[in-house]
Assembly symmetry: C3
Homo-oligomer: 455 residues x 3
């Protein structure tokens, strides 16, 4: 049960800390151009906007499928995003600049959005089963581990993961799943009938799906360079197309009466964007992108249809949005594809872009080769292993820290319901009345007065 | 009645063919830049994204107005788009490169989106009256004829049609209408009460309308050059504004009680983007763009109000979304405007852009004039004539091919309803219960288990 | 009660006037580039599109929260936008070019969108309480005063207001509030129960909120130059993040049971974009942007919670969307921040951008300083004062002009209802039946026939 005050205090303390730390560490980028133009605006801002739309409209509306958790889905998505844009900026700077002052560029904004993506993927695993308090604290802890993992993966392994399928999708999914496992409560079963969608909430959800689908080429290409950026766009575009066709085909097949399931269309159609992410800027050829997308569709639909219910029943691992099927397993496919593509990367296929796609293979000053393709492939494998380890271990610890009743995890009918945290209009929820809420709105000043403000 | 298996098999066969053909024919573009940048990214990617949004959000949500066909509208829109992005890439390459290997550029992606637009316009004419099987096969056939028509129009007539009002809108509309006429079944009347909207489905539809409206300047300017691109943006922007004002004015006028009809606001307000499409990059002046837009609003509202019901009653031509009023007739207006603007195009008004706007008039190597303005105008007329002929004839043939019961055209209450193809949540549809569906969801494993995945 | 004909005649007369005036005054921009490219396309078009989305999706859907005014919110938003895009282009040209011919550039399109923003903010103050006739006439009058104020503020005071927080937000809000005060009618109380939201209308509203939130950095940076543009993006991005965190924190605090109010999440989270607008391109530092955003969240939530109900009760000032809390007071905060930041602006912090951020301080030809920082700060203060005066006085006059019954202001149950102006589907409104509407749709030909068009 959400109590008054605690939520406010936690957020105000966090925001105060952010302001102080920004005052100490964060400064503006200096322009080096004759015309005073900061090049980041021209080169990265258009891509940044697409990523921004994916984070706040894409993830936010994708999760509105729950019949009674629409406010929480799009609302807490916005709140967690707002927390991470600030905290992610700080933590990234701390790792990269060793607690010296640092400047923010447009790429910094993109990276803060990427960090938000990881947190929002974890949010999907526990959607409707956690309090806003738990979600905010989870975000604060997860971001530190997220950047620790990226620091290891980029500074030491120098892994290639242009679309962040390992650093963002695998990390966010398995951190969230481990977290979900620890905070699991039997009363989730009591809220089963609120765990589904209604007709129009599925259509709200498709707003998120389609924006994610359309802008995923920008997500995978946002920080790519040269013709690697071109390949990232083309590969992602075609991978998603193939994934969509296969998702429709399998969704119908796995249903006894041949019917298509909106859960698959809302989620599995996007798996192609994840699965191609690590190798998006590599020379995998358009036909390779189609195969990767098709494979991702198969893995994702079968995961939703068979694996998720099993996990829920056998190991009490409850995955509200099925992030294992959209981000987890397709992310592992991406990591595998990345290892293979890295192992076979040759100069004749890549030309000058071999150095930009695989910076770890070449000396940054002299430019001569310091790692073979095979060695780099091994480092790719080490990166996904490290990512899994930090994500799962971190998720378990975080779950243990946030399970105590102090963090006000919702119970029974509060689960999968906005009722715990949100003022509801007099109509309650679209599919049934809410007598108790009616009473509330009768008692309380605020909603009365806020209603007046709209007269 | 949709059967299990057939839909899956057809999609899997298609996807397999796409992968094989991509493997044989499609390769990456080679960069020619010192910095390895592929110029297409900077010059065309921002426009591509807007077109992409129009195809998948614009068309997808515009069609969600039907009270019980929301899943099918946005879902099949995504499926058909995904099929055409792949198939359209291949067929365009076959025509342009005579079955030699070809590379994909960002312009290729834009053209694949344009091809999807034509198919989705045809989809609008038969929305709710066709099976997914019929829609997929229709797309496969239509794309071949679509590119045949463009090949004739651009290679031989060298027509100017920067916004594709002839090649995309006229073709898509009349192909779809001819197709609709052939597959017409009397039992459409039995589903009349499901053919309308409910209050919130009209608002979902406005998401599509507004995104189409906002990004139409990008649609008409996407592949334009130099100051022709500037004119395409400005002309489309003002044409849409005038069309919107006139659509509101007439919508109220043609109703006995002076009320505005959402059908007109959702559709007729967009006719200005179609009607200015062919001449968008020509020197028609801003006031000319306003007149074209206003005219389009008149044609479209009157079409919805009087012509569509007549066609339905008299020649049994049923047009679910009224594509004749949004794409067909405004496209013919665009073709006519294009003929006139072409006939009066002079060097003093166009300057250097005369060669880029009317490539057919000049020798590509030497650059001297080989066609007079009048001659080019005649070729413009020939292009719209050819487009109508191929579209109508092709639509009739395609309808005949896909009418057999093998293709599972929906009947009676399956018409205008997601019930035939989609798993429905327990609430059935927003405006009434679905006892039979409740039974289904009670019987079937999949939805049970998928519900669990969301707990 | 809306009558048939009057609405049509007014719109057709306006559109005819627009066409004539465009014919006399508006011409194309001449390109000065070797490649014929109009530079505006590359430099301003990407920003223009984001602003365009904010105007038509952002404002349009933000206002759909009313349970029975969804058609009017997104529909009239589109109509008023379409009127202002044309009329705003003309009036701006008249002021800047003294009734000589002028050319339209991409910046002209951005400025027309900005003008639409001011009108749509005023629309928010009277949402559901005015006829479409009143709204159209209000827009026509408001735009003249809007550009008069900008002319004074930019030509004489040479004020810095890159995000238009004074020229757009303060002006639009207080014009609308003064207008609302004059047209106030007691029967607004009779429609109290229609003044709220239903569950899914709040989610529609969040579509508007999130798009406004995401693209606000583009709004504040659209016409900024050099590194000032970079600062406008970064400052707005972080200001919005801090504002969002604080809005959630306070929304929960001001409710007796600690519940979050969607009204605050839909609106107050955006106040940070307004409050940072005037100083967005100035050197306020990221930590300063966070403080401004946090302050805006406090002002906005407290305004919704306490001030708006008070204004409604004590001075009969009814503010449907609470524009005073989202645009008015945060705009005044922006003006104050702008005065302070201007007073302390020094060369060493700004470098070469001091001249572009504060053009009023330097001679345009020679470039030497003609105004001190303090003097410019005084002019900033004069600008906000003039803006308030013109907005309030103009709003009062406009309200008096449009209050007569000739303008068909809605009464009683027509208030906050689409019933007065729109054909409604047979289901009436989602939360209850509409017997009278059922009768109407039974009588009238048009809706019957339009239904047929969808069969």
């Amino acid at each position: 049960m959400a109590s008054r005050g605690k939520f406010t205090i936690v957020l105000m303390i966090l925001q105060t800390i952010f302001i102080i730390l920004f005052g100490i560490f964060v400064k503006y980028e200096k322009t080096d151009q004759a015309d005073g133009q900061v090049p980041g605006i021209r080169n990265f801002y258009p891509m940044f906007k697409d990523v921004h739309v994916m984070i706040f409209i894409g993830f936010g509306f994708l999760m509105t499928f729950l019949k009674k958790y629409g406010y929480g889905s799009v609302g807490f998505n916005l709140l967690l995003g707002a927390v991470v844009l600030q905290w992610g900026t700080l933590v990234e700077g701390f790792f990269l600049h060793k607690f010296a002052q640092f400047s923010v560029s447009i790429v910094t904004l993109i990276n803060a959005d990427f960090a938000a993506a990881a947190v929002l993927i974890s949010f999907g695993a526990v959607l409707g089963k956690t309090s806003a308090l738990q979600l905010v604290m989870m975000s604060v802890i997860e971001i530190v581990l997220y950047h620790l993992n990226i620091y290891i993966g980029t500074e030491y392994f120098k892994a290639a993961d242009i679309g962040g399928s390992m650093f963002i999708h695998v990390f966010g999914a398995y951190f969230g799943l481990a977290f979900s496992m620890v905070i699991y409560r039997k009363d989730v079963k009591a809220a089963e009938d609120d765990a589904g969608s209604v007709y129009h909430s599925d259509i709200f959800s498709m707003i998120g799906t389609v924006f994610l689908w359309m802008f995923w080429p920008s997500f995978n290409a946002a920080i790519a360079e040269g013709d690697g950026q071109y390949r990232a766009v083309v590969n992602t575009y075609y991978s998603l197309a193939a994934c969509t066709v296969v998702s429709f085909a399998l969704s119908s097949l796995v249903n006894k009466r041949g019917k298509i399931d909106m859960v698959h269309i809302q989620n599995a159609t996007l798996a192609g964007g994840v699965a191609v992410g690590t190798a998006a800027n590599m020379v995998i050829y358009p036909w390779g992108a189609l195969i990767i997308g098709a494979l991702a569709g198969v893995v994702s639909v079968l995961g939703y249809r068979f694996l998720t219910p099993l996990m829920d029943r056998i190991i009490r691992l409850n995955d509200t949005c099925g992030v294992n099927n959209l981000h987890g397993m397709p992310g592992l496919v991406a990591a595998f594809v990345g290892i293979v593509a890295t192992a076979f990367a040759k100069e004749d296929a890549y030309g000058h872009s071999l150095k930009t796609v695989f910076p770890g293979r070449f000396n940054s000053t002299m430019g001569e080769e310091i790692r073979s393709a095979g060695t780099q492939a091994a480092y790719q494998a080490a990166t996904v292993g490290t990512t899994l380890a930090i994500a799962i271990f971190g998720g378990l610890i975080t779950g243990a820290l946030l399970k105590p009743s102090f963090w006000e995890q919702p119970r029974d009918k509060q689960i999968h319901s906005d009722e715990d945290y949100w003022l509801l209009p007099d109509d309650g929820f679209p599919d049934r009345g809410f007598p108790d809420v009616k009473v509330i709105t009768g008692q309380v000043g605020p909603i009365e007065m806020d209603n007046n403000t709209k007269i």
